[in-house]
């Protein structure tokens, strides 16, 4: 109960601080619009079922961005705000604060799908014509879980090694490629598909698009299982990372030097 209260407070504070952050508007409004426009202009003349990649693609990119940027930088943000020491000094493990903040990022991240859907409908007269509701809903939940676990794994990594954020930020668009956010990963070269198969979001994205009628097949259970298994592996890595952050902060006192 105590930890639940901490998570709820972190969720609430994170929501309040987001409203005055210009980057949040960029993340949920501007980015999805830009990528949806690109996708819709390119994909509209081709067969109509492909426009699902444009309609959902911009939102997926933005949703991922919210998870990896906001979620991954959760601890780092505390350091920049000068509040990390207080948090580390609290009896509550910092992971629970991060979970609350990350849940808030993912909750509002769902908003990022609205601009693309609205633009497609009003600007390009396109919509998601075929959706299998149950596979779609489950796939979306699995995708959210995979984003959550990825961000939980990245949060201590960004905190312990500052260069890690620069590297992943530079490769951000590369992740759009190997997660198949706007086109099927089956068209990529074999070595990239191998990379993609190690990423939990790529399996969840595959099942999400399969539920919109794309020609992936219907192996939903297999895709969900792989995505969840990989996500759990990330979560375990994240747990180890949080232990390391704790050691660097409390035992060696070197966290501020990282």
């Amino acid at each position: 109960m105590k930890y639940l209260r901490v998570m709820l407070r972190a969720f609430e504070m994170s929501m309040k601080m987001r409203v005055i952050n210009a980057f949040w508007y960029l993340s949920w409004l501007v980015f999805p619009l830009i990528f949806s426009v690109l996708g819709l202009i390119l994909l509209s003349p081709s067969e109509s079922s492909r426009s699902a990649y444009a309609i959902l693609g911009g939102g997926l990119i933005a949703y991922w961005g919210m998870a990896y940027l906001e979620g991954g930088n959760n601890i780092q943000d505390e350091r920049w705000s000068g509040t990390l020491e207080q948090l580390m000094g609290c009896p509550t493990p910092i992971a629970f604060v991060v979970i609350g903040k990350l849940a808030s990022s993912l909750a509002v991240g769902i908003l990022a799908f609205l601009p693309g859907i609205a633009l497609a409908y009003f600007g390009f007269h396109q919509s998601l014509n075929h959706i299998d509701p149950i596979p779609f809903a489950v796939s979306f939940a699995v995708l959210t879980f995979s984003f959550f676990c990825t961000a939980m794994a990245l949060a201590p990594v960004y905190t312990l090694w500052r260069w890690a954020f620069a590297l992943t930020n530079g490769f951000e668009i590369g992740l759009y490629v190997i997660c198949g956010f706007m086109f099927p990963i089956t068209q990529l070269p074999g070595w990239l598909q191998v990379m993609a198969s190690a990423l939990a979001p790529s399996w969840a994205t595959r099942s999400l698009y399969a539920a919109t009628g794309q020609s992936y097949g219907h192996d939903y259970l297999l895709w969900w299982a792989i995505s969840i298994a990989l996500s759990c592996a990330y979560l375990f890595c994240g747990w180890l990372g949080f232990r390391l952050v704790d050691v660097r902060a409390r035992v060696s006192g070197q966290l501020a030097l990282a």
Binding site: F23, R50, W163, A166, Y176
Partner: protein, 262 residues
Amino acid sequence: MNALRIFLRTCWFQYLAMFNWATPIGYVSYKLLLPISQILFMTELGTFATGRSNALYFALGNALQLTAINGIFGVISTVGNERQFGTLPILLASPANRLVTFVGRAFVHVLDGMAGVVVGLALATVMFGLDLSHANLGLLAACVMIISLSTAGLGLMFGSLSLIMRDVFFIANAAYYLLLVFCGINFPVDRLPVWAQVISDALPLTRGVQAAREAVAGGGLNQMASLLAGELAVGLVYAVIGYALFIWLENQARRGGLQEAY
């Protein structure tokens, strides 16, 4: 000669001090990983939509747009970070020549941006077999230089705006990605609505990318002279507006003591 030495030293120090990525890992990340990722993503998206035969159109367009990494992200941060790093009041109090200070923000980024396009073209050649054997390389080089200058002009204008805005990278990110839509990087400008084509005409890159595509096809100067002149003029207009803004905002800040009020 002394003035030139001071100018060059100023350019270099401003690049190093105000540009967050001037570290080896940051540089590799944003100048190598980002180009690879962007060219790969847009080319794969484009080929998914239009077929493999059009891959080079997307690869070339995105390789050229990479100059905006420096022209937009670099120049905006070099101007805007004065505020973020708390050095703006010191700059405003200094007797430094304002034009030299202002233009110096973009100088190294123009060179670095050209290097970025060379990297992008090399990547496009390796990854998608871009064929430059029939290209007019001299004119292509001229296109790359002019595109770098014009995007830096836009960066200088947005950078000046960032003196009164809190989130400098909000502008940089939005501007960088909007160029992908409006400038004929991934589809011809005539596929945009008329109102959007008007915006395209007012942006850097639009004419430069079109000229560069002609240079790669082996076109001569006659075919692209007007495009290049237009591209240069657009960049110059933005740079002049940016400088005027810079001076105006400085005066406003001096009069009201508002250097860090925004």
